[in-house]
Amino acid sequence: MMYQHWRGERAGVLLKRGMCESSLQSLMAQDLSEKELLRMEVEQLKKEVKNPRAPISKTGKEIKEYVEARAGSDPLLKGISEDENPFKEKGTCVTS
């Protein structure tokens, strides 16, 4: 099951993330049997099947409306003028 795969793959995962072999830490000891893990998965799936759901035509519409209501005040969407820009280029000082 997933768990057995995981132990073997963990070394691969850490290496993939660019770490050198010497920094691999010890694997977590998890002494649940495969049967116990599967039983927990079955119980979890039973719960999830019962979750309330709404159609995308409804929820997608709400996402769209959320965006439209706020698009006007989204600085990364609209861009902001140099006056309001806290990151604008610093001017040079002129001393008389």
């Binding site: 995981w6 995308i56 997608g60 996402i63 769209k64 609209k78």
Partner: protein, 402 residues
Amino acid sequence: MCDQTFLVNVFGSCDKCFKQRALRPVFKKSQQLNYCSICAEIMATDGLHENETLASLKSEAESLKGKLEEERAKLHDVELHQVAERVEALGQFVMKTRRTLKGHGNKVLCMDWCKDKRRIVSSSQDGKVIVWDSFTTNKEHAVTMPCTWVMACAYAPSGCAIACGGLDNKCSVYPLTFDKNENMAAKKKSVAMHTNYLSACSFTNSDMQILTASGDGTCALWDVESGQLLQSFHGHGADVLCLDLAPSETGNTFVSGGCDKKAMVWDMRSGQCVQAFETHESDINSVRYYPSGDAFASGSDDATCRLYDLRADREVAIYSKESIIFGASSVDFSLSGRLLFAGYNDYTINVWDVLKGSRVSILFGHENRVSTLRVSPDGTAFCSGSWDHTLRVRKTSFHFAV
């Protein structure tokens, strides 16, 4: 503002497995015992399934997964981009780098904004954690961690402390002090202890609690003051790489992503997984809630970003292109939720139109992988950190309409 209180379990040795965990009372033949959440879960199902075999459980799991897919498919009546058909298309963007933060001696792995929309904390492979003033590019604080690969860092909501951790398997909190005579490292507080690397951390609504994710496959909620474990979250089948807390208005949940390709939504009070999504084809490196809290985006090594709608309980958009073949390491939304910024391992940042599913801009500049990316709290800028040792703060100069 009062802090939310979570059920503080008794912490101690589980009566079944004897591990040091957060415990809850269970009743067995009218005797009260204290079990950890895993043993309690197992006990709840014990005795009800005497004649189960491994095979019967496997087939039950498969048929339930099929049922879940069926239920989810029933509500897939339209695609998100169809709902957004009449929304005006976005034109050309000009997004310029306004500040480049230089000072890290090695790969930048993580960054976070302070609520003051100005300060940034960043952490690096060389063990250094730096607090910057992004307006002036000055380094305000720097601390050297005892470990390398500081993979996680976070700013406290008050702006008075930072949290960080990595290969030391811990999450430590450092109060920020401007007193030149005080050594920041001396005030360090070790809060979280995992059995493998710390991959992500985040304060909750206050400075008092921290949520962590780890290579040991779990997430955990900790009390900062006492270091006590308040709740643990088990369910990922491999390293957890990222987490994000729901916006405070939506309640006490958070989402996590892992090397098991799953994104899981958790109830912080009960420790239970509420919803799980397994549509990515590789590790999920980054998860971020949509500003409304009704959806979240993920970025993965499979070179795609995806949007999951929590109320429709399914994936509703995939942001991908054939030309994009490198993994997405980090994602974040603009203020309105119209734009999704994603940093990739091919050194670029792609900007996606969340509603229409198309890419609206590609940003160059970093000279190595983009490892971390966050939009500022007021949405005026976004900052990206890279393996090229720098951080870049960018803003939109112009948006030319179509």
